[in-house]
């Protein structure tokens, strides 16, 4: 086992790969939050009056709200007055028209992250809307998408160019008063992505946003809104990284999905924010509200997430199943190592008849990581014939970590059928022995077992992401058994 231990050390010591800071001029407002900051953000973004009012209303509500404390995460109170709420690369004033005009430093940043925009444009066929701190810097493939009538742009742009769509759907899934962080986001969000897929259109490529927090002390508050009109389909990819800093940074995003009749939205996330160092210093506080509304009949929303980063993850991508026969899915792999804490899960609210939902959650805890699955399955009175299947498995690596399962199941209709099961296990000595006996190295064996454990989730990821996710897990875990 000594080799294994050596490898543990090697992997545990592995530095965060995306820990560089990009040195570019940014334009920021001083830290602190009051009405004037919100007015300033709104003015900078040349927002219409209704949006400013909407923000101010959210801010008013937020001030009266308390931080949620029910999650099994532990962190010192956040000083919301010490955060900078707006930070934008200076070159924004004359916004780039194409990639060639984008600050080469920025592009280099993305290159380091492994998402060279140009290359992707040329090869991968993925349209990337890259969000750098708070302002969307470049959107690729727009013209191609425009031909099909697909709108894919930064949120600010959508506010300017498609205000009717934004006004109609903004806050329709996550109301401003939904929770503390959603209210904060509603008040101060700076940018994000907007997607609209018209009737009957199958989006020809996978849409993707890459989030990155750069400036120190900057909270990132982005807002994503995806609307899939009748009979349309879209697959959306989201990836996140942040540079390495000693202090904790707050990330409070809101994602809203709306699926109309027969529409389908597939939303995949690979979250690799800086998790803090081995002592648990620094790292991102990832407090995110994600919710999809299956509004139309036979609509379908799938959330797939691979959460390997962040010091604290607090997110519950949910589905509101309103339309008859609508389907909600949640596939999750959450990994916590060192002092990382994750309290994540989903909510499936069955309102319409014959609605179905599936929850597959795989939690992996290592080091001193704490990993909690918290989920709600609610079957309302009118949800005749609703069906839910939940499976939450935990894998523990090491004896100083924790794995917790907190499922809430509320059933108000007798014709509903729901099943929940959960198991907790570790990588067995005998499993390892079996593999080694067949000439598989310890490291490969662990990787194989973990991949097998997560298979049901990885299968749901688009190809490019599945590879990245596997690699990420590998980095954090391989050899962590001794």
């Amino acid at each position: 086992m000594t080799t294994a231990e050596g490898k543990i050390q090697e992997f545990v010591d592995r530095e965060y790969e995306h820990a560089f800071v990009t040195d570019i001029d940014t334009e920021s407002v001083p830290p602190g939050l009051d009405e004037s900051v919100i007015r300033l953000i709104s003015a900078k973004k040349k927002e219409p009056e209704w949006l400013l009012e909407w923000r101010l209303k959210a801010f008013e509500k937020w001030q009266a709200m308390a931080t949620p404390e029910w999650a099994m995460v532990d962190y010192p109170p956040i000083d919301y007055q010490a955060i900078t709420y707006y930070s934008a690369p200076k070159s924004k004033e004359d916004a780039p028209k194409s990639l060639d005009e984008v600050d080469p430093e920025l592009l280099a940043t993305y290159e380091k992250l492994g998402i060279p925009l140009k290359e992707q444009e040329a090869l991968a066929g993925v349209a990337v809307d890259a969000v750098f701190d708070s302002v969307s810097v470049a959107t690729t493939f727009k013209s191609k998408l425009a031909e099909m009538g697909v709108l894919f742009c930064s949120f600010s742009e959508a506010v300017q160019e498609h205000p009717e769509l934004v006004q109609k759907y903004l806050g329709s899934v996550v109301p401003t008063t939904d929770n503390f962080y959603a209210a904060l986001n509603s008040a101060v969000f700076t940018d994000g992505s907007f997607v609209y897929i018209p009737k009957g259109v199958r989006c020809p490529m996978e849409l993707s946003t890459y989030f990155r927090i750069n400036a120190a002390n900057t909270g990132q508050f982005e807002r994503t809104l995806i609307v899939a009109d009748e009979g349309s389909y879209v697959s959306y990819l989201e990836g996140c990284t942040a540079p390495m800093r000693d202090e904790n940074q707050l990330h409070a995003a809101v994602v809203e999905l709306v699926a109309l009749d027969d529409a389908r939205i597939k939303y995949s996330t690979v979250q690799n924010w800086y998790p803090g160092d081995k002592e648990g210093k620094g790292g991102i506080y990832n407090f995110v509200t994600k919710r999809g509304k299956c509004q139309g009949k036979n609509s379908r929303i799938s959330w797939t997430q691979v959460e390997t980063g962040s010091a604290i993850t607090w997110k519950y991508p949910s589905c509101l199943l309103l339309g008859e026969g609508s389907v909600g899915e949640f596939y999750s792999v959450a990994l916590t190592n060192n002092f990382q804490q994750a309290d994540t899960g989903t909510k499936m609210i069955h309102v319409g008849k014959n609605t179905r939902s599936t929850i597959i959650s795989k939690g992996i805890s290592a080091g001193r990581g704490q990993n909690t699955y918290r989920g709600l399955v609610k079957i309302q009175k009118g949800a005749e014939g609703a069906r839910n299947f939940s499976q939450c498995d935990s894998l523990l690596v090491g004896d100083r970590c924790g794995a917790h399962t907190v499922p809430y199941i509320e059933v108000r209709n007798p014709s509903a059928q729901m099943e929940h099961e959960a198991t907790t296990s570790k990588i067995g000595e005998d499993q390892l022995f079996y593999c080694r006996q067949r000439g598989i190295s310890e490291e490969d064996a662990v990787s194989m077992i973990v991949s097998g454990f997560c298979k049901d989730v990885f299968r749901e990821l688009p190809m490019e992401f599945a590879v990245e996710a596997k690699k990420l897990l590998g980095v954090s875990l391989e050899g962590a058994v001794g």
């Binding site: 949620p68 970590c401 907190v406 499922p407 199941i409």
Partner: protein, 445 residues
């Protein structure tokens, strides 16, 4: 979403209890340690008030109807005749059973059939004799508002203390009757069960009601099992329709101790049965099983908490609910495996059967695990009777009602069949089946 605590409700509701307590406290006559425990409990209750649904542990159980009721807190116990008792209580559960009867929270020797034993004493007698009782160790009044009330107000109960290797073969049957009158009555039952190393006993608790008026009974049972001690525990909770029953049990298990508990929650308008088990010694094991059957607008809440504090512990939980009418069933099970509690084996199962359109269930089976070499699993299911199974039975000439009844009973029998005492099983089974056939008959097809 937000965790804002609502302030304690109308303070007037608490005052009644506080005044009654002070009156009682002024009388004195108890050991100082007990008086201090009672005062601490009352302070805890005053601070916390009646629980509201904003508290996680009370999320699905609303006790505002209890908070609002003006209970007679110091009423003297009614007298109950043997005939009246026989009419409601289970038949003798064993020929040689030790039958200990409590009426409105007071020991009733004339109704009890206990032969004088060294291991039993009514708590009231032990308190009067100045015994130092280890009360409040298993159930902390803080954080348990109804247990706090119980601690502050209890008058009597059973103190059962078995010496090392003492084995009581005959079942010990504690029967509690709460009588209802014109004025709502609150009654507090308190039991302290201490089994020394290697001791063994079977304990049956039965809670009954007489009359149809409003009653509240709080019940607290504290169980201490030393090395290799074994306790079989059965609780039949069968009160009348206007009763509220809020119980908190707790057991502490030393090395190799075994605790088996079966709960049958069949009565009362509002019933909550909570049981906490702490495994403090290696190789200790426990099994908590329960069946809650509700019709009408009954509300039954089962709460469990198993704390694996040391390695090599085993725990099993198996709870089943049958819900009819507009009833509401709640299961909240929690398993905690502490750091270093390796080789723990913890299983948790909850299954629910919804028989009517308006019945509802909330279940929350939780695992909280801080050790890696453990086997833990839990599962929960909620559904209605399998239409294919009904079809199968009907295709064999069995009527729809009979088929439904048969399947429902089979569902409940999984728990019922675990009772080892034959007469007790028969009694519980009859109670249950009459309830279930009412339920099955009420099914509109």
């Amino acid at each position: 979403m937000s965790a804002i605590q609502s302030p304690p409700e109308n303070p007037g509701q608490l005052e009644r209890w506080v005044d009654a307590f002070e009156e009682r406290d002024a009388v004195g006559g108890e050991r100082e340690s007990l008086r201090e425990l009672r005062r601490r409990a009352m302070r805890a209750f005053q601070d916390e008030g009646f629980p509201t649904t904003s508290l996680e542990l009370w999320r699905y159980t609303n006790v505002q109807s209890i908070a609002r009721t003006d209970y007679g807190l110091t009423a003297a116990p009614s007298s109950l005749s043997q005939e009246a008792l026989d009419a409601i209580s289970p038949p003798t559960i064993a020929a040689d059973a030790h039958r200990l009867v409590f009426v409105d929270g007071h020991f009733a020797p004339e109704l009890s059939s206990h032969s004088r034993t060294a291991w039993f004493s009514p708590l009231s007698a032990a308190i009067a004799a100045g015994e130092e009782l280890d009360l409040g160790r298993c159930v902390d009044p803080e954080g348990h508002p109804f247990a706090a009330l119980n601690t502050a107000f209890f008058v009597d109960g059973a103190w059962i203390h078995l010496a090392a290797d003492e084995k009581v073969a005959a079942p010990i049957h504690l029967i509690h009757v709460t009588t209802a009158g014109a004025k709502p009555r609150a009654v507090h039952a308190r039991h302290l069960i201490q089994l020394a190393a290697g001791a063994r006993a079977t304990l049956v608790e039965t809670y009954l009601g007489q009359g149809s008026g409003e009653t509240l009974s709080t019940a607290v049972i504290e169980v201490q099992l030393e090395r290799e001690a074994e306790l079989q525990h059965v609780k039949l909770q069968l009160e009348e329709e206007n009763a509220a029953h809020i119980a908190q049990g707790a057991a502490r298990l030393a090395q190799g101790a075994r605790f088996d508990s079966h709960l049958f929650s069949l009565g009362a308008r509002l019933a909550r049965n909570a049981f906490d088990v702490v495994l403090l010694g290696e190789q200790a094991s426990c099994r908590l099983a329960g069946l809650y059957v509700c019709d009408g607008s009954r509300h039954a809440d089962c709460q469990t908490y198993v704390d694996h504090a040391v390695p090599h512990g085993t725990s099993e939980q198996h709870y089943r609910g049958v819900l009819d009418g507009q009833s509401h069933g709640v299961f909240n099970g929690r398993v905690l495996v502490r750091e270093d509690a390796q080789k723990t084996d913890a299983q948790q199962q909850n299954a629910n059967l919804l028989l009517s359109r308006d019945a509802s269930v909330d279940t929350k089976p939780q695992l909280e695990i801080y050790a890696d070499d453990v086997k833990c699993s839990h599962g929960a299911t909620i559904g209605q009777l399998d239409p294919q199974a009904i079809f199968y039975l009907r295709s064999r000439g069995i009527g729809e009602h009979a088929a439904r009844g048969m399947l429902t009973r089979a569902f409940a029998d999984e728990i019922l069949d675990e009772i080892e005492l034959e007469p007790l099983r028969r009694f519980a089974s009859e109670r249950l089946h009459s309830k279930l056939s009412d339920a099955a008959a009420s099914q509109g097809v």
